[in-house]
Point group: C2
Chain length 358, copies 2
Amino acid sequence: MKSKVNNKLKGLGSEIEEQIDKKLNPNISIPIRTLSNIIYDKSTGQLTLGDKVSKRYFFNVAHAKKFMQTMMVASFCNDLIGQNIHASIRDMFYNLKRTLPETSENTFDVQSESDPIIIDLEVALDIFREQLHLTTDRKGIVAGNVIIKDRGDSIDWSKLGSGGWSIPSTVEEIEFSKVNADFVLVVEKNAGFERLHEDKFWQKHNCILIGTGGQPSRGTRLLIQRLNREYKLPVYVFTDSDAYGWYIYSVIKSGSMSLAHISDRIATPSAKFIGLTISDIFEYELKKCIIKARELDIKRAKELLNYEWFKRPEWQKEINLMIKKGIKAEIEALSHRGLKFMSETYLPEKLKKKAFLP
Amino acid sequence: MKSKVNNKLKGLGSEIEEQIDKKLNPNISIPIRTLSNIIYDKSTGQLTLGDKVSKRYFFNVAHAKKFMQTMMVASFCNDLIGQNIHASIRDMFYNLKRTLPETSENTFDVQSESDPIIIDLEVALDIFREQLHLTTDRKGIVAGNVIIKDRGDSIDWSKLGSGGWSIPSTVEEIEFSKVNADFVLVVEKNAGFERLHEDKFWQKHNCILIGTGGQPSRGTRLLIQRLNREYKLPVYVFTDSDAYGWYIYSVIKSGSMSLAHISDRIATPSAKFIGLTISDIFEYELKKCIIKARELDIKRAKELLNYEWFKRPEWQKEINLMIKKGIKAEIEALSHRGLKFMSETYLPEKLKKKAFLP
């Protein structure tokens, strides 16, 4: 894997070298990432990039600086991989920021110049940031009957007490030594993770429990996808019953606009939604815990209605119910029925009935 | 410990019972937490509560509801401890929210009614939230030569690969089986944690590495204090060179206004500041990475000048330098000198010279 990425970076360099040898204007082709080139692929259920491409030339006053920046970032990442170390994108920015000799021109002035270059390389070379050894902010915890190998350590996710394993930003390099689970349960909230973890839910139901702490980090999304793809584990997502929670589900399942170029490496199209639905509020007698939806909630919900992957009748019904009644509810509302209601009644019932939304 | 807290809760109940038996107006005494009763204790270096107290009566139209709420929360926590389970404060709110029979009056309408009751109980009974089995949001990661026991698992912080151990919200109950370290290094940023962790800093310098991911969670602050108090480990805090970073240091060292009532259980007055200072920017040739301070940064810095624990000359010099020059810098700026500069040059030099701020 590592050498494949290295080869792609070196290929980029050789190509430029050849162009120079042939006295051509050195250039790089980069797929366009604006909305006009983002499409929803029904067959894979993912957002993905179309085939529009732009070219970045060295001998072009409008392109020259960006061309140089692209080469600098590619070279930096090549070094990272060569030395086998990782860096954050901010580390990279500071490392590359300097003044060109005998000018007052900086290589990069602000980080918002270097960040998009990384995405350029991701799409141009069909690799992704983690493979370039650039780290993303970490978030997310996991527990379950799984043993992994990571940086020479053998880590048993079932023996980490109340803490769980903190999912690092790069999970590309971890190896699974043992995966003993029937499914993956992804919980939006840390508090939900803690309650389920304490009630030994993953042990009783033989699953892998992942807490995302809000919108999942790239590392967490990659981990979910790896477990799904490599071990064929069904993935069930458990969020609040509101537009924000449903959007989290949608991002896990289908990717996001801003990362459409790597959807196939980060999304899990077969993921299913286990709850909370608006119907659950009535089915499980949670009416006392209803929260009145704000204007923004309704606006977001109306937007979701138009997402391709929410056009299924089950979702249209739920989202419209939310809009009509102007209500939402949180995972913690289940505590109204008792603190163990979630782990001993609600989730087991949903799993038994296979009451999932698509 | 558990029975001590249980006894305090039961004591509260018995006291009310006695008052009822004596036909007195049942009441609870609660120390006042407003600014007028928060003092900085120079001898301990902590923010703490003074001795002003208010009384909450049952037979008082203005107090009756709050009195009932206090009893409900106390009883809920008593159950949690009895059943040995934990809940988030939001779980508690939903659990206790109901309508009083034959009225339209709710026990609690919004969570902002139940949250302060928890603090009331903390101060009234001199215990703290974690001991009442109420969880706080988790954040923070740790790695080092330490083995702990937690919920029956033995967890080796030195063998968790790139992930580290995710610090749970309650660290009261973990047991240390082995602590082999000379000091604790607390890093404000996850990216900094990852770089140091990858460079095996904690191994090379025999320390415990803690990443707080911004303002540290209660669990993380408690863990820092336990390592300092129980194992006499010096604590060094490493943050960005700006008012926000320095405030993080201040919170770890001296506690915060909003948690003044538990400073002695959560603060680590002997903690020292290892960097980044404004002087470091010049000493370590990071001028290329200076960020211009915004108006808000300067305003915050001016506020810090008046904090008791920043009145030491070393801090006054640094803060004034920041204000005068109108600059700040981030931990990641060290990457300008090379990605391993932080772990191989900057921190080792600071440690060797004991170049800490008080």
